[in-house]
């Protein structure tokens, strides 16, 4: 990711940033990507919340953050279920790394219930079942000028139609990783 992304975020005067689901299978912790996304000094310009249902993911994130001199507030919760209404329209940066691997639906249910590390990748049909449920939430909590980064694989792109109704979409990064082609989308709310 590029340094001009840092500028965009700074111009938007972010104060609340949320990282949803923290561990990415194969490529480690999402905070590492975020660190590349934001210059070190901009870590002082916002409060970062990291959310995951898996306690191991949260522990790893905390440790990684400390090693990188970052400060991330981790919360063990599902989606944004426990956020107050006050948070609606207040989140300036949302980064979501949904469980995106195409799996049978029952496998997804099991993974979510067990809240195990499988929940970090099992994505159900087209790998987008968890993401589908999350899109309206993200829209609700994002501020008017907020930016929503979405980390996906190409198999998930059926979601674009749904996303396009609510957001303007920019392809930020496409990269080949062993076994999958990753895509990062940058979404902003469609201006009414």
């Amino acid at each position: 990711m590029h340094s001009n992304q840092t500028q965009i975020i700074q111009q938007r005067q972010s104060s609340l940033c949320i990282l949803q689901r923290l561990v990415r299978v194969g490529s480690g912790v999402v905070i590492n990507s975020l660190q590349k996304l934001l210059a070190q000094q901009s870590f002082n310009d916002a409060i970062y919340f990291g959310i995951d249902i898996n306690i191991k993911a949260l522990d790893v994130t905390l440790r990684t953050a400390i090693q990188n001199n970052c400060d991330v507030q981790v919360i063990q919760q599902s989606f944004c279920h426990n956020f107050t209404n006050l948070m609606k329209g207040s989140v300036d940066v949302f980064i979501f790394n949904p469980p995106y691997v195409v799996t049978p639906e029952d496998e997804l249910m099991k993974a979510q219930q067990k809240r195990d590390i499988e929940a970090s990748w099992a994505g159900g049909k087209d790998g987008i079942q968890v993401l589908m449920a999350f899109i309206p939430k993200a829209y609700e909590f994002l501020s008017e000028k907020g930016v929503f980064y979405l980390l996906l694989i190409e198999e998930n792109l059926k979601i674009l139609k749904r996303l396009g109704k609510l957001f303007d979409i920019v392809y930020l990064v496409k990269r080949e990783c062993p076994g999958e082609r990753q895509v990062i989308l940058r979404l902003t709310k469609k201006q009414k």
């Binding site: 002082n44 310009d45 249902i53 522990d59 400390i66 001199n69 507030q73 063990q76 599902s78």
Partner: protein, 128 residues
């Protein structure tokens, strides 16, 4: 867990829809991050947070914690320019970490544990 986190969390147990914020905070163990690890003092960020924060919830919660900090009843334009006030907020919202404790719903009394600085807001299957 910081107080800023407490300020955005409510109880979400099935059927619990009113008087479910702010959660009663019990801090059994807390520490202040040293300057190296904490985010730097940033008046502009604190001023932006003042616009978003649920002030009454923060003020009430701080008054129950016996931390020796008293917050004023009302936020004002003069106050958010005041250096001493912003330094207090920096301590409360940025530096201070609750390591162990509980948050209790004022309505249904559901207890949310805080362990190793991580609040657990997950509900059991029969609670959603």
């Amino acid at each position: 867990m910081k107080l800023i986190t407490h300020n955005i969390l409510m109880c979400n147990k099935k059927g619990c829809t009113t008087n479910n914020f702010p959660l009663k905070l019990v801090a059994t163990n807390w520490k202040d991050l040293d300057t190296e690890n904490a985010q730097q003092y940033n008046p502009a960020l604190l001023q932006r947070l003042c616009e978003k924060i649920e002030w009454n919830a923060l003020r009430q919660t701080v008054s129950t914690l016996n931390w020796g900090v008293n917050l004023p009843e009302q936020l004002s334009a003069e106050l958010v320019q005041d250096e001493a006030f912003l330094q207090d907020l920096h301590l409360l919202l940025v530096k201070r970490q609750i390591v162990e404790g509980q948050m209790v719903c004022p309505n249904c009394e559901r207890v949310y544990e805080i362990k190793n600085g991580i609040p657990n807001m997950l509900l059991r299957e029969d609670e959603v």
